[in-house]
């Protein structure tokens, strides 16, 4: 069996506070994994560590068997990890289509990007994403003028044109209406299989809708792992959530 992402003994120590503590998990190719955990469990920090925003104190991260722990953010991105932030992070002063053109360039070098042309594959990728995210009516608008939901979908779309093998999603439905949440779930479901996805999410309805396997974190450590029924019955998980009112 081939693993897309292997996290092994990952630890980060902020002046004595271990936000992520000896965390280990493996994610299969094409899997959709949800990470749950009460506030302060270390979910976002885990994403920071995988994507290179924060440097780990010890442990390692492997992407398709290749060690990426010590690479810088853009190298990790080039290796195949895409990240979506909780607050939509897009290029607000560029148009929607320009946002996608930036993300679609398979070429990181400055000098090789000194050209106008877009390859046919890039163009095709962009068109697919526009259809998937339903942004065709606003292609020429500034990304900053989009609705909150559209911004989130644009950011998701950029990860797809970027051709990220593993996508990290940090609360993709935060602040969304019911309809928007449903549409987001649809988009994510369509990505299943083609991309390996790691989602941090609080909305249990959403989690039940999309999740296959769930990993629960507590105080930086792995608490439980399994399918949704196992997790909901798990005693340790109930215990951890008691303080914050249980799983909703």
């Amino acid at each position: 069996m081939s693993f897309a992402l292997t996290v092994d003994g990952l630890t980060v120590d902020f002046n004595g506070f271990k936000a992520v503590d000896n965390f280990t998990t493996t994610i299969e190719m094409g899997e959709l994994r949800v990470i749950l955990g009460p506030n302060g469990a270390g979910k976002t920090t885990l994403m920071d560590l995988i994507s290179g925003k924060t440097t780990s104190t010890s442990g390692e991260v492997k992407l398709f068997g290749r060690e990426i722990t010590r690479l810088s953010e853009h190298q990790i991105a080039r290796a195949g990890i895409g990240r979506k932030f909780q607050i939509p992070s897009i290029f607000r002063d560029l148009s929607v289509i320009q946002n996608l053109e930036v993300s679609a360039s398979g070429e990181p070098s400055v000098f090789k990007n000194l050209k106008y042309s877009i390859t046919r594959e890039e163009k095709q990728k962009i068109e697919e994403v526009i259809e998937l995210t339903d942004l065709s009516d606003v292609l020429k608008s500034s990304a900053g003028d989009l609705s909150h939901g559209q911004m989130q979908w644009l950011e998701l779309g950029m990860l797809i044109t970027q051709d990220a093998k593993v996508i990290l999603l940090d609360e993709p439905t935060a602040g969304m209406t019911k309809q928007e949440t449903m549409k987001t779930a649809d988009i994510i479901k369509k990505l299943k299989g083609k991309h390996t996805i790691l989602v941090v999410e609080h909305d249990m309805a959403f989690v039940r809708d999309i999740a296959e396997r769930i990993t629960v974190m507590h105080l930086g450590k792995l608490l439980a792992e399994g399918d949704i029924d196992t997790i909901e019955k798990d005693e340790a998980v109930r215990e951890a959530y008691l303080g914050s009112g249980g799983i909703h």
Partner: protein
């Protein structure tokens, strides 16, 4: 949705073409060579506005020390032209030595460039005009690369970039003033010779020099325009909006910032060289803070995110300044007005003249589209 913002783009090109036509046809309309010389200097300032727009508008990096690159370019080339000047040939000697070195030399030192004053050997290669020309662009590029690498690799951003570049231009200005024996200190390099290219002498008050400056200016504008419309230019703008997003898309943000910082420096260095050809001097005032901030003013008034807007802003402000500068009191009053205009622009027109023009074009277009859709 159909391409409905085309008028603004067409307007952009129309402005470029009009600008080129006007600039290149100007000598046909006048035989006032002094006036033409003045305009050529303003075109050089236009290039400085362009360099600022490139780094500020497109990269989001406000460089308050652009005068450093302009000054370096100017000094490098002025050194070559100084050695070609008649004032550098003492008593019919055929080995040039700058006059100020002779005045400053210790009694008894040999009247040779190698050793007349300590450090004067640095001038030796500048006997070649080509060397001076190359250095006028190469040195700014080198300095910008080193400084840019330090700033952007360490992820210094925003106001701190402005403060570092500001301190840097002041630092170099002091070094130039302090190296008085080889730079002529506060007085700078004056009484320069003329540029000689392919046998043509560029007298600053002749049409040739105007055309040299005007054509260079147009070519650089087109090149810069091309640069920002490439994928690399688009990625650069993305780093301005959200550097972290660009990083997580796999771009080495610092590399893009350094590249465009260097391009901007190279343009400023080249502008310094052209200025020396037209104005026949180089001075530490090129590295004054007020000059560097003036460049930012030109770009802001013209439109910080429009290359041609910044060029027009620079030419316009300097032309008005020149026309009111005939008397001392009006000159001072003009400075006051510039202060007021600048406050006004920052408060009310943050996108400058270019922004107003674009909004106007969009408004025209929208009302046109509305009227046609009503009819149809």
């Amino acid at each position: 949705m159909i391409e409905n913002r085309s008028l603004a783009q067409k307007l952009d090109w129309a402005v470029y073409i009009t600008f080129f036509v006007v600039v290149l046809c100007l000598p046909l309309l006048t035989d006032d060579v002094f006036w033409l010389n003045r305009i050529s200097k303003f075109l050089v300032f236009g290039l400085l506005g362009l360099a600022i727009a490139l780094s500020w508008g497109y990269a989001g990096v406000l460089n308050l020390g652009q005068g450093l690159f302009f000054g370096l370019g100017a000094y490098m080339f002025a050194m070559s032209l100084k050695l070609k000047s008649g004032t550098s040939l003492q008593q019919g000697s055929d080995k040039p030595v700058p006059d100020f070195m002779v005045w400053n030399a210790e009694p008894g030192s040999p009247t040779e460039l190698c050793c007349i004053v300590p450090g004067s050997w640095l001038w030796l290669p500048f006997q070649s005009q080509t060397f001076g020309m190359i250095m006028a662009v190469a040195l700014p590029i080198l300095v910008a690369f080193v400084v840019g690498s330090a700033i952007f690799r360490l992820r210094v951003s925003g106001v701190y970039v402005a403060i570092i570049t500001l301190a840097l231009v002041l630092l170099v200005r002091l070094l130039i003033i302090d190296a008085q024996p080889i730079t002529n200190g506060f007085n700078g390099l004056t009484d320069l010779g003329w540029l000689n290219l392919f046998g043509v002498e560029f007298d600053p008050y002749m049409y040739e020099t105007y055309y040299l400056v005007a054509v260079s200016c147009c070519v650089i504008m087109l090149a810069a325009r091309w640069l920002v419309s490439t994928r690399a230019g688009l990625i650069l703008q993305s780093t301005r909006d959200d550097a972290n997003r660009s990083r997580y898309l796999g771009y080495d943000v610092a590399a893009y910032q350094i590249f465009f910082f260097v391009v901007s420096a190279a343009i400023a260095g080249f502008a310094g060289m052209l200025y020396v050809v037209a104005a026949e001097f180089a001075s530490p005032t090129f590295l004054d803070i007020s000059f560097s901030i003036s460049m930012v003013v030109w770009a802001a008034v013209g439109g910080r995110s429009s290359l041609i807007g910044a060029v027009i802003g620079a030419v316009l402000i300097n032309s008005i300044e020149a026309s009111v500068s005939e008397t001392e009191i009006f000159k001072e009053a003009w400075k006051l007005i510039i202060g007021v205009i600048f406050i006004f622009v920052v408060l009310l027109l943050p996108r400058g003249i270019a922004g107003v023009a674009r909004d106007f074009a969009r408004w025209l277009e929208d009302s046109y589209l509305q009227s046609t859709s009503k009819r149809g």
